[in-house]
Amino acid sequence: MNMLSPPRHRLVVIGNGMAGMRTVSELLARAPQRYDITVFGAEPHPNYDRIALSSVLAGEKSLDDIVINARDWYAENGIRLIAGDPVAAIDRTQRTVTSVAGQVVGYDRLLIATGSRPLVPPLPGLTLPGVCTFRDIADVNQMIAASETHRRAVVIGGGLLGLEAAWGLKRRGMSVAVVHLMPTLMERQLDETAGQMLQRDLDARGIAFFTNGQTEEILGTTQAAGVRLADGREVPADLVVVAIGIRPNIDLARAAGLEVNRGIVVGDDMACGADPEIYAVGECIEHRGQVFGLVAPIWEQAKVCAARLAGDTAASYATPPLSTRLKITGVDVFSAGALSAAAEEDEEVVLQDRKRGTYRKLVLREDRLVGAVMYGDVADGAWYFRLLREGTDIAAIRARLIMGEALAGTTADPVAALAALPEEAEICGCNGVCKGRIVAAIKSQGLASLDAVRAHTKASASCGSCTPQVERLLAMTAGVAAATGPKPMCKCTAHGHDHVRRAIVAEALKTIPQAMRALDWTTTDGCASCRPALNYYLLCAWPGEYVDDAQSRFVNERMHANIQKDGTYSVVPRMWGGMTNPRELRAIADVADKYQVREVKVTGGQRIDLFGVKREDLPAVWRDLNAAGMVSGHAYGKALRTVKTCVGSEWCRFGTQDSTGMGVALERMTWGSWHPHKVKLAVSGCPRNCAEATIKDFGVVAVDSGWELSVGGNGGIHVRATDFLCKVATEAEVLEYCGAFLQLYREEAHYLERTAPWVARQGIAYIRQRVVEDAAGRAALHARFLHAQSFSQTDPWAEQATNAAYKTLAPVE
């Protein structure tokens, strides 16, 4: 018996780019032993994600971040990588390829994946230093270097590539102009309205546009100095980036006598017709007259080609419908299929909200979706794309279709919707991964995290827009994570609130910059949305240790007053449990007179509000109120606001307990505490509930035998009555349960989430378990609350009364 394994075939791959290596990966997954593989790459780098070069240029990722397969991967899989020595010729009779350096390698099968070259018009001045294209790592390095020494850039081309180049250079501090031949941007992917919205947004971000601009010449003698347009306009620049498009790189194939047209002509089997030993995939090919620049069809080609190479003679390629996204942080664009009604039977449905800057247009043909263009809010893009790809009959949901999946979908519950999807439904459009494959990988490999799913299936590893679905699949299949995918905190980060909160504690992150670095923030100092959240999370995690960052506080919490629409402030002194006395009222009246307070109003929380105080008067107002023994009412903060009370058994003929006394005790314990959102308490002296305790965050209602506690209520837009927590006998217990509940909320809720949605999200059973059933846990929560309070019960007014920030500066000289 012959103990030797059969000799392996030799596969040579020309091109170490995304298409070639995806084909090799797919092939290794199907038939790992079939070939000895040699890969030639023109660039001296391992295989990297070319799509992510925009993110590298914009400074959001490093080159290391975008490597798909490091050199180890080639070694582990027995692949010989020849990087930096491009192939010079193919000899089809000898079945060999020869590199520029003279290496000759024989093949049984040849895969051509030479990609594309930048399309460069024949302009005078193209060869000047300071002119480059936007295609590979060398181009990006050149642009980054130019941005460090030069100031102005002009990008020729207002398509996907050109705009991403422009945005990257802008992010690197250059002043950027874009010259575009057509009247609107990205005209191949966007209709006129969306193109104009895009231009307006980018214009507002400081990119200048020259549309209808035909570049005639690159100016300069020893170095690029700008461009001149056909209508005579001149745009000065030190860097000129040509990004008008790509053309298939077919030189090798043509020289080898293979059939080429615009690209290398391949059949449905991905083979080059004349020579069945030779295959081609990616941007270098032409299939049924079409050439390719987006990644999704190329992944499909890789899959079919790998199947063919593995011996599957049935595998056949057809170009799937395409969708486009733009990778500019904070600019959300989606398009798929037709951009506008083309045929007689086509109809357009349009929804536009100019204030929010959102726009969507659907193109319908005979109750089928044939096109979608979205701007601003693209969350429903994947859903529309699925309807379009699957040719779903939308007659039944037509009236609501434009509102998106949540309102028009057959089921509004995302988990149920996902469960109802067939196995072959595509989840990740970038990498062509279907639901069945993700579920199978989670089960067979025991995957338990998003990163693990990304590593094993590539699902959600590219643009990330399918992350919520992948996370839901993970939750449904492996039972990990919450049932719904976490939303990123804001546009500065991919992480959700829970992840950030956990990381701050687990990794002992103690300052905002430290947290931003450790958690891969994409902006240097965040935004008005994440900074206050981080400031609160750090304050909550490290009481007494974290130094509050005033610049990360919303103005009200910085000024300890409520900003009003005319820029003046309102001031609310604290009145414990709603109790006051003539001395305090006189002091308030004096302050109102002295500082010409325009309006005095009693608030819903049983306090007195002084309206129309000027910023520069704030310290003096506080000084006067402090002098009368009053402290800040925190009516401005994500903090304990008020404890509202009824008069209780002291006066009321129905009162069963001293509700005012209880209220004052609660307010003395809780005042000064910072929370994810505002917190209001109330104590009613009997079940008639005059203090409205059942629409408060923590409500107490006195009964004959003790106190009924309930949580998670609020007034506001969505009124929610409290959930009953438990009944306790003594005032000391009321205080302990209250402290424990507030601490649990402080530690676990998301910033700007009130207790009502938080309790609804967690379920009252969970809150009861932590606060009622687990006595030791309750005591620990309460102790942590009191510990934090020992640092926070200082009157901000007394501290701030001398702060210079309130004063207006006069010129110093």
Binding site: M197, R200, D201, L202, D203, A204, R205, G206, R354, K355, R356, G357, T358, G376, T523, T524, D525, G526, C527, A528, R531, P532, A550, Q551, S552, R553, F554, V555, N556, R558, M559, I563, K565, D566, G567, R615, A804, A805, T808, L809, A810, P811, V812, E813
Partner: protein
């Protein structure tokens, strides 16, 4: 263009907190001075182009400030509102001379 500005020292850099601002009273109204994390200093009229909110009281991030009234994001360098909002706060010439912050007034 020749120098046609008079420059008035209005503050010391240390008067303005990093990622913060200070207000300067001028005959033409309040001017907000902003200081970014990288110590770039900007000057804008202290009025949001939306509803006149005091930009000086907003949160500064990058080279932008978010207005405290309705969260418009204003580019500090140009004064322009970030899309989808449209508007522009008046920009004033400002420069640093050592530690001194100078505000320019056209002659």
């Amino acid at each position: 263009m020749a120098e046609t500005m008079t420059w008035t020292a209005v503050a010391r850099l240390a008067d303005i907190p990093r990622l913060g601002s200070r207000v300067v009273a001028t005959p033409d109204g309040d001017v907000a001075l902003f200081r970014a994390a990288d110590d770039h200093v900007f000057a804008l009229e202290d009025r949001c182009p939306h509803k006149g909110g005091p930009l000086s009281q907003g949160i500064v991030h990058g080279h932008s400030v978010t207005c405290p009234l309705h969260n418009w994001v204003i580019d500090l360098a140009s004064g322009a509102a970030q899309a989808p909002d449209i508007g522009c706060a008046k920009r004033l010439p400002v420069r640093l001379e050592g530690e001194r912050v100078l505000l320019g007034t056209p002659l």
